[in-house]
Amino acid sequence: MFLQQLLNGLTTGSVYALIALGYTMIYGILGLINFAQGEIYMFGAFVTVLLLATGQVNFVLAFIAGMGAAGVLGVVLERVAFRPLRGFHPLVPLISAIGASIFLQSLALLLFGPNDRPFPIQFTFSSVDVAGVPVSTLQMAILAAALGFMGLLVVFVRYTRYGKAIVACALDRDTARLMGINVDRMVALTFFIGSALSGAAGILMACYYNATYPRMGLLPGLKAFSAAILGGVGNIPGAILGGLFLGMAESLGAAYISSGYKDAIAFAILILVLLIRPQGILRGRGE
């Protein structure tokens, strides 16, 4: 029972971590929180589900298309809702992002209707016994996919030219520009990658819960935001740890404390952590 809950938590936690990476990367480079990340997650899931529903696209292609669409949406959002407001007090882009988030949510409601959509293809997943705990292969696949994306991101940021350019912009935008880095392009690239990861998270969750609906991004988005802050915003390993930790805490809390307050657990932990250690578990770049 305990191990089972821990594993459930790890699965949702890995998805929170994927979204949290988007928050953290964008915060690292621009110093702002993209409140609409949860809606990007939802759009990624919708694109994949709609493509799969046509029956003519295979899963891998639909997955890539969903991530791509989410990424493009992120870049468009940056152009429309954030770039004109760069240099303002942080309150201004924050409210603008909230506006964008409501806009996208109601747009999805109009385009796709309020009902849950099931995931169009059923995978035949079996249950494997690991140390006496039945583990569904779906959970393992989601966990593996999420961890794989995180690994790819870490490699990208550490070892590629573009990754290093993003880090340089996050450290000091003006110096990066002097070194010949096109900062605006790096910001767009960051939005693309962060949003694509959120899109991937959305697709994985749509598959896991077998449901896609316009408001699906709201709570995961907010919880991932908490995870990013928990790990210290701007800190990539922190976001991963924060996400996994929140997922597990939520799952155990729902099982042993109260399932009615499941969605409150992440926020309660966040508030406690901020009161005791405002800079997050691992020190963020923000402070």
Partner: protein
């Protein structure tokens, strides 16, 4: 038709109180709160509960609502003093989500069914149940709230708040007790939202958690931004416009949120000072000097 207009006027009055109180936090003190509907809900539930169980008359129930919401506002304001912008945003938002779940799960609040049969106010045997008479109560409350906030923001304390908004460290150097101001303004704004909640509860006579969720918090925020951050007249206009707009555009009801969202983004880009924000109170202060 007249009854309907009166109903809208009452709702607009309640939203004016909510918007003005949130504007105190955002527009004057330069802090952020994304959980304002939680205080509105605390006020509504507190007022309904004391009226239902202890048969408090309306004025006492309204006072209890303000007290309950104010205490919660102080409880949230004190520990979050150190937090800024994004952090404060997520903590207040998290507080809103938690309170929403509390209303939904507690036995005393009636869970998802909420509370029904909340008594309408009566004075010397005169019932304020008819919409026209209830409007008088709301109007009195709105005028009182506007007077208090107006006197506040035009006073020494109002200038101190704006100094904190413009530059906290400078304000501190000038001898302004910034933590005290922040806690007081949080408490006051929460208490006013509690009053709005009480007015709502005794008017509708039925409340459930749906009215006090994130959606409402964001609606109030949209009203503040539309009217202009740091403008009381603007807040009144923002509240009235966003209460009336969905009614005027009945056929477009499903586009309501779409419009709110686009409004927030578009307004910040094109006219960041809001509809009625004055030059001196405009968002120019928000532009970072670099």
């Amino acid at each position: 038709m007249t009854a309907y207009l009166l109903h809208l006027a009452i709702l607009a009055g309640i939203y004016i109180i909510l918007t003005v109180s949130l504007n105190l936090i955002i527009g004057y003190a330069g802090q952020v709160s994304l959980g304002h509907a939680a205080f509105y809900g605390i006020g509504a539930y507190a007022s309904a509960l004391v009226a239902l169980h202890w048969h408090f008359p309306f004025p006492l129930a309204a006072l209890s609502a303000m007290l309950a919401a104010g205490v919660c506002g102080m409880a949230l304001g004190l520990p979050t003093l150190r937090l800024k912008e994004d952090y404060l945003a997520i903590v207040t938002l998290g507080f809103g989500v938690i309170m929403d779940l509390v209303f939904l799960n507690l036995e005393i609040t009636g869970g998802p069914d909420g509370l029904a049969g909340i008594p309408s106010p009566a004075l010397f045997g005169l019932s304020f149940r008819p919409t026209g008479r209830y409007l008088i109560i709301v109007a009195v409350a709105v005028i009182l709230v506007l007077l208090v906030t107006w006197r506040l923001v035009e006073s020494y304390h109002g200038r101190a708040l704006r100094a904190i908004r413009d530059h906290e460290i400078t304000a501190q150097v000038m001898g302004i007790n910034t933590p005290a101001y922040k806690v007081v303004i949080f408490t006051l704004a929460a208490a006013l939202a509690g009053l709005a909640g009480s007015l709502y509860a005794h008017y509708i006579t039925f409340i459930n958690p749906e009215s006090f969720g994130l959606h409402t918090s964001i609606l109030i925020l949209a009203m503040v931004v539309l009217g202009g951050m740091g403008s009381i007249v603007g807040s009144v206009a923002g509240a009235v416009i966003l209460t009336a707009l969905p009614e005027l555009l009945r056929e477009f009801r499903s586009y309501q949120d779409l419009v709110y969202g686009a409004l927030l983004v578009g307004l910040l880009i094109l006219r960041p000072e809001g509809l009625l924000g004055k030059g001196k109170l405009s968002l120019k202060f928000l532009q970072r000097e670099s």
